[in-house]
């Protein structure tokens, strides 16, 4: 990497957290200059720039000074700038920070498309666990600069011992009776009782629900409602990093077919 810096530069695309858009130039000029610096010229440059502007929905704004762009448009242009030279690996540093929900959804679709259709390996960092869960094939939780957990989102969630099940009973029942009913069941752990509410962790939510309902009803306990929740990455994050969210970063990676 140190010996062949130029090869590395051509293989990677970088989109920094802070936008690198030249605000005094148009979107088209920004992209064309970036392309020229990578040695693209003539027709190839024209079609590449035009193609990127269209794909990111910036076609109409192409000849406007980027100062007049919205935050979402600038962010899209940032990603487009990182893609001009068709890199193999794209680094995205918090690509959706500060975007409105619509712009964020657009960005997610584009990132998914890049890694699935174009086969680009995308490495992105984010504070939004929902984003990581949605986009990442593999993810790593980084706490104070160290990787504290890594794996696919499902693997990480599975380590939390399955799903959470919440049962709301029809009437407050003697807790001993409820506990007695549930303790005999296979795959039900960490039963917690609070008034009419029963919380437990189960290996698999789908198979546990009938068993739990059956066990409760066989003892004449009326059930008002049942919900199962898959563990979220927030749970995973809190388990590994376990402190205020804003103090740490999450990094994750979506892999293309390579």
């Amino acid at each position: 990497m140190v010996r062949r810096p130029d090869r590395v530069r051509r293989a990677i695309g970088c989109v920094a957290q802070r936008s690198g858009v030249d605000l005094e130039a148009t979107g088209h000029e920004n992209l064309a200059l970036q392309g020229r610096l990578y040695g693209i010229g003539g027709r190839a440059l024209k079609s590449r720039v035009g193609g990127l502007l269209e794909r990111f929905g910036l076609g109409e704004a192409a000849d406007r000074i980027t100062k007049t762009y919205s935050g979402g448009m600038r962010r899209k242009l940032d990603v487009a700038l990182g893609l001009v030279h068709r890199p193999e690996v794209l680094f995205l540093d918090e690509p959706t920070t500060g975007l409105d929900p619509e712009a964020r959804a657009d960005m997610w679709n584009e990132i998914t498309r890049l890694s699935s259709e174009e086969g680009i390996t995308v490495l992105l960092t984010t504070h939004y666990l929902e984003e990581a869960d949605r986009l990442a094939r593999r993810l790593a939780i980084v706490d104070s600069g160290r990787v504290v957990a890594a794996g696919t989102p499902d693997e990480l969630k599975a380590e939390l011992r399955g799903d959470a099940i919440h049962v709301e009973l029809g009437t407050p029942e003697p807790h001993a009776l409820v506990r007695d009913a549930l303790d005999r069941l296979q795959g039900v752990h960490e039963v917690v009782l609070e008034g009419r509410l029963v919380r437990a962790r189960v290996d698999s939510g789908a198979t546990a629900v009938p068993a739990v309902l059956g066990a409760l009803e066989s003892r004449g306990l009326a059930v008002a409602a049942v919900t199962i929740a898959r563990p979220s990455l927030d749970d995973v994050y809190l388990r590994y990093a376990g402190r205020a969210f804003s103090q740490a970063d999450v990094a994750h990676e979506t892999g293309g077919p390579r």
Partner: protein, 258 residues
């Protein structure tokens, strides 16, 4: 080599495009020289009647001084563009690309040189309109313009170097004012050498701004001492080159810091 020239040119074009979008910047940059030429020139018109003044027309005497002073200040502001590119992440984006590292500095300097040439020609034209008369025609004016350009490049390089190290507009503005204004008055820009106090005459000998004024004014005299003009020009060239190297070193140190 050709890549380096091409990359520098892309940067120059980028800056020129910026200027073309802010034509009022050109007008503002001409306010000062116009005030010096027309108001100061009129106010001190009769200064040439002092025995020992080396010229018969003050506007003829003053124009080269104003040309050089304007070139110096204009170069001094070069760092503003550098700081805004640093702040906006544009420089870092370029540094991720395979751009020739020197192109960022040399492209800016080439832009400065072109602007300086344009400015000098406009001021010479204004001087002629105000009644200045020069000998040696285009050749004389060309020497003045080149001398002013070398001062411009030296100051632009220092301003760029300072901006890369300090990265704060206010500090660079203060530094430019602190250096440029005294240098303007420690020389023959507004007053003939023979009437200067001896200590200023001594200092002026080492003042590069004064070298450019003397070279330019010398070339516009009826029978120029070309040897003297050339010697002054040589010193200016050496200074501009040294300052250019300093800017390059400052840029390298910035690169190491990111």
């Amino acid at each position: 080599m050709t890549t380096a020239v091409a990359h520098s040119w892309y940067m120059t074009v980028r800056h020129l495009r910026f200027l073309s979008r802010q034509p009022w910047l050109i007008s503002i940059s001409l306010v000062q020289p116009v005030v010096w030429l027309l108001l100061f020139g009129q106010l001190f018109k009769r200064i040439v009647e002092i025995p020992g003044f080396a010229s018969g027309s003050y506007i003829t005497f003053l124009t080269p001084g104003v040309v050089v002073m304007t070139a110096m200040f204009s170069g001094g502001w070069a760092g503003m563009g550098v700081i805004s590119d640093l702040d906006r992440g544009v420089t870092d984006r370029f540094l991720v690309s395979p751009i020739r590292r020197g192109a960022l500095t040399s492209g800016m300097l080439a832009y400065q040189a072109l602007v300086s040439i344009g400015q000098s020609l406009i001021i010479v034209a204004l001087g002629l309109v105000a009644g200045a008369r020069f000998s040696n025609g285009a050749a004389g004016v060309a020497v003045l313009v080149v001398a002013a350009m070398l001062v411009n490049l030296a100051f632009a390089s220092l301003s760029i170097a300072l901006s890369l190290v300090i990265r704060k507009e206010e500090s660079v503005i203060a530094a430019v004012q602190f250096v440029a204004l005294p240098l303007t008055f420690l020389g023959a820009g507004f007053m003939t050498e023979g009437l200067m106090p001896s200590w200023i005459r001594a200092v002026a000998h080492y003042n590069p701004v004064n070298w450019a004024v003397e070279a330019g004014r010398g070339a516009l005299e009826p029978s120029p001492h070309w040897g003297f003009v050339l010697a002054r020009g040589g010193w200016l060239l050496a200074l501009a080159t040294a300052c250019g190297l300093l800017a390059t070193i400052a840029f390298r140190s910035y690169q190491r810091s990111v």
